[in-house]
Symmetry: C2
Subunit: 341 residues, 2 copies
């Protein structure tokens, strides 16, 4: 009798949930942290037309793919990308293992702790630090090191773990789309292995749905003959700009129905998404809230930022192509989950 | 009232299905094309202990990942891999576009149609043909070309479409594992883009769950400014041997709980799977049925084969490590779906 009893219990629970949901239907709002406005309407309408079988824009469940940039779209990216902080803070451990790097640039500057000098390091130096701190260890070692770091590292402005600094309104979008049958993916310029460590816990997104900048690994055996993977410095996918649609094809193999970003690095992903037939949703988060978060562009005269650049050209393209621009200041009631009562 | 009515109808249907299943429970067999024996028992027992909450070997649903090699594990790979036939048959189209290749080897030999000479082409020549026939076009063009080819191409022995030559017992394993909450992946040495064209229709596996040998793509715009991806000759992942665990890490980011293969090319995938803690299932299909399919090894004195090599060393490793070897001859009642009544 097990199957039928279990089925019966599941049904009673489901009916209960259905009644409850129905009872609350008039008041229920899948996006409670969003102010009413064009951005919220765009999301709600898109989900409605793509999931209603009677709609000419209905999308079969298996084709409901939604991709989300991470830095600046799902969590804070200022004053600098979280992963770059991780890499800088890992330099002492790398130098301890390779003492000859102690007096070699750019490691010397990073070890000095001189923030101004570190901020001025050219891109090729940063890349050298990223390569040195993100490779050479086993995949398992890397995962536990990142997990440990995330437990103690704090954002300099909020003095909270970085994983607290996700955007509550975007967490609601992720949940809303998932509960509407969309498969949610992160498509980030950040490291795929880095983001996979916390994506399930923080965003409800499993590792296999995280697409990011990815290096090669090398299969080998330890002294007891047990196989393991070592992270190699070889770059396989630079998941930024044109690399985003290329990464989507490589890792997913379908064109997304919806794509969310916040910078010039997301332009090609949104273009690629929008070039498909049928209903599509393209959205960009604009950081115009210096008080509650940060304000940067340079679109709309906001201060220029190297990190999360949102140019006037991107803003114009969004307007021309009907992409929605989300104003953090005007569209979001709260920014962070910890502001919720 | 819509939600509650829909929930009610769904429940009545679910309960009906549950009762029906219960009524048929004593007779129900998730693997009807398998003879009773160690291989079938290994699969059924593994699914039982990993899905029963009361079992110490229970595996949470999100960690239930099962990977399947394709060629020789899910469908016929002899006398030669299906994708290689596709590439050889595509040579005339490539030469029509690039007439200067007409008198250049290895294209000249392929155009001659001399089967013996073609079979003798060295590996580097075959690779040149694969590169020439699998790149240079848009992703969309490639997909429709493969789909068209599959509609008309026939296997030389059975005179049926290649997609008819899947193994019925393995289709049952795929369905059984999926209905037990496992996410089924193909992890193939074949081309990821090639297999993705038919994996959903043939195996019920969506494109995002196909991991294979993968080349780069290049994002660009057509003359009307519409973005598209071009297949590049650059190899990103050689998804064979050590490349299989590397590809699993890149594309899935979790260690599988179960892995199925049939050749030395699957050894590292099975080792990697088996090195994880908790319940694991590793299985190898042995082609020992010359009458109904093919017989090749060279394990157990079967004739040596370049395609799908199953060495005595692999057989010994399987025995030592407790991997199950599936005998096509003894374990499978039927081979192909078209043999079913």
């Amino acid at each position: 009798m097990r199957i039928t009893r279990r089925a019966l219990i599941a049904c009673v629970l489901a009916l209960g949930a259905g009644l409850f949901r129905h009872g609350a239907a008039a008041q229920s709002d899948p996006l409670p942290s969003w102010n009413d406005g064009a951005a919220k309407t765009a999301i709600v309408d898109f989900v409605k037309v793509t999931t209603d079988r009677a709609s000419p824009k209905f999308v079969p469940a298996e084709e409901r793919i939604a991709t989300f940039d991470q830095d600046g779209t799902l969590w804070v990216e200022h004053p600098i990308y979280t992963q770059v902080i991780y890499c800088l803070e890992r330099v002492p451990a790398v130098v301890a293992k390779n003492p000859e790097l102690k007096n070699v640039e750019p490691f010397k500057t990073v070890l000095s702790g001189d923030r101004e000098a570190i901020a001025k390091l050219p891109l090729r130096d940063l890349e050298e630090i990223l390569a040195a701190t993100l490779s050479g260890m086993s995949v398992d070692e890397f995962q536990s090191d990142v997990a440990n770091w995330l437990e103690t590292a704090k954002h300099p402005r909020w003095h909270r773990p970085y994983t607290d600094l996700t955007y509550q309104p975007m967490l609601e979008v992720l949940n809303f789309m998932r509960s509407s049958g969309f498969k949610t993916y992160i498509v980030t310029g950040g490291g795929q292995d880095f983001v996979r460590v916390y994506a399930q816990r923080v965003y409800g997104i499993p590792p296999e749905q995280v697409v990011g900048t990815a290096g090669g690994t090398k299969f080998g055996y330890d002294k007891d003959g047990r196989p393991f993977l070592t992270k190699e410095p070889k770059l396989l996918l630079n998941d930024d700009k044109a690399g985003k649609p290329e990464g989507i094809h490589l890792m997913i193999g379908r064109r997304p129905r919806a794509a969310f970003g916040n910078s010039d690095g997301d332009r090609e992903m949104l273009e690629y998404t929008g070039a498909g037939a049928g209903a599509r949703l393209m959205m960009l988060v604009l950081h115009d809230d210096a008080q509650r978060e940060y304000a940067y562009g340079p679109a709309l005269g906001l201060p220029f930022s190297k990190i999360g650049t949102f140019t006037a050209a991107l803003y114009d393209e969004a307007k021309t192509k009907g992409w929605s621009v989300i104003s953090m200041k005007n569209d979001w009631k709260v920014i962070y989950p910890f502001e919720m009562k």
